[in-house]
C-alpha cells in the first residue's frame, strides 16, 4: 500500500508520469516509427530505381 500513500501525496507526479508521460511516449514512438518507415521506404525506392536503370 506504499504506492497508495505515495500517490495521494504526489498526485501531480502520478498523473504526469503515469498518464501524460505514457501518452507522450506512445506518441513519440509512433512518430519515430513513422519517420523511420518513411526513410526506409524512400531508401528502398531509390535503390530500386538506381539498380533498375533510369527508365
Amino acid at each position: 500500500m506504499a504506492l497508495d500513500i505515495w500517490m495521494r501525496e504526489n498526485p501531480f507526479t502520478y498523473i504526469w508520469i503515469g498518464s501524460y508521460g505514457v501518452a507522450m511516449l506512445v506518441f513519440a514512438i509512433e512518430l519515430g516509427m513513422l519517420k523511420n518507415a518513411r526513410k526506409a521506404t524512400l531508401q528502398k525506392i531509390r535503390m530500386m530505381r538506381n539498380s533498375g536503370g533510369n527508365e
Binding site: P11, S19, A23, A37, I45
Partner: protein, 245 residues
C-alpha cells in the same frame, strides 16, 4: 465539385496535398496540446470529489472517443474501398488502424491509472473499459490480418471486410457488455456532467481538438508512406524530389 473529389482521390494528388497539410496540422496540434494542458493544469480547479486525479480525463476521454470514431472512420473507408474499388480509401483504412489501436491503448492505460485512486483497483470490468478492450482486440485483428497477407490487394480487401463486420459488431458488443455489467454489479462512480467546471470543459475540448489534429497528421504521414510503397513503380514517384536526391 465531383471532379475535384476524384482528383484528390488519386494517390498521386493526395500525396502532395497531404504533404502540404501535415506541417500545419502538426503545429496546430502541438499548440492546442500546450493550451489544453495549460488550462487543464493551471486554470481548471481541483475537483471536490476526485481531487487532482480527475485531470487524467483530459487525455483519457479524448483518447477513448478518438479510438471509437477512428474505428468507424476506418470501417467507412474500408467500405468505400471495397465497393468502389478506390485505391486511396483502402490505404487510408490501413493507415488509420495503428493510430486507432494506440489511442485505444492510451485510453485503457489512463483509464486504469484513473481507476486506481478512484476505485482502489487498476481494472474494473465496467462496460466502457471492457468495450474499449474489445475494441483494441478488433484493431489488433485488423492489423494482424492485413500484415499476414502478402498480396496488397487481397490484404486490403480482406481486412476491409473484417473492419465492416467489426463495425456492425461494435454496437452489439457495447450493449451486451453494458447489459452484462449492470447485471453483475452495482453503480460505479460516474462523472456527473453538472459538476464539471467550465475550465474543465474547455481543457477537454482543446485536448480533444489537439488529439484529432494529431491523428490526422499522423494518418496522413502514414498514408504517404503507404502510397510511396504501393506506387513505387510509377513515374510520378520517380519524379519526386525526395526520391531523386
Amino acid at each position: 465539385m465531383a471532379i475535384n473529389w476524384f482528383k484528390y482521390a488519386a494517390p498521386a494528388t493526395f500525396y502532395g496535398l497531404a504533404g502540404k497539410l501535415i506541417p500545419w496540422l502538426a503545429v496546430a496540434s502541438a499548440m492546442l496540446f500546450a493550451i489544453g494542458l495549460y488550462i487543464g493544469f493551471a486554470v481548471a480547479p481541483v475537483d471536490a470529489q476526485q481531487g487532482e486525479f480527475y485531470r487524467i480525463i483530459f487525455i483519457h476521454v479524448p483518447a477513448s472517443i478518438l479510438s471509437m470514431f477512428l474505428y468507424m472512420i476506418m470501417a467507412g473507408y474500408a467500405a468505400l474501398g471495397l465497393i468502389f474499388n478506390t485505391r486511396l480509401s483502402a490505404m487510408m483504412a490501413s493507415a488509420i488502424a495503428p493510430t486507432g489501436a494506440l489511442f485505444a491503448f492510451i485510453s485503457l492505460w489512463t483509464g486504469a491509472l484513473w481507476g486506481k485512486p478512484m476505485w482502489g483497483v487498476w481494472w474494473l470490468w465496467d462496460a466502457r473499459m471492457t468495450s474499449e478492450l474489445i475494441l483494441l482486440f478488433l484493431y489488433l485483428g485488423f492489423i494482424a490480418l492485413h500484415a499476414s497477407i502478402d498480396d496488397p490487394r487481397r490484404a486490403d480487401r480482406a481486412s476491409a471486410l473484417l473492419a465492416i463486420v467489426g463495425s456492425v459488431n461494435v454496437p452489439i458488443i457495447y450493449f451486451s457488455v453494458k447489459w452484462w455489467n449492470t447485471l453483475h454489479q452495482g453503480s460505479t462512480i460516474k462523472f456527473t456532467g453538472s459538476s464539471m467546471h467550465i475550465a474543465m470543459q474547455q481543457a477537454m475540448f482543446t485536448m480533444m481538438a489537439a488529439c484529432w489534429l494529431y491523428a490526422m497528421a499522423v494518418v496522413f504521414a502514414r498514408v504517404r508512406t503507404i502510397i510511396l510503397e504501393r506506387e513505387r513503380n510509377t513515374t510520378w514517384v520517380g519524379e519526386l524530389s525526395e526520391v531523386k536526391q
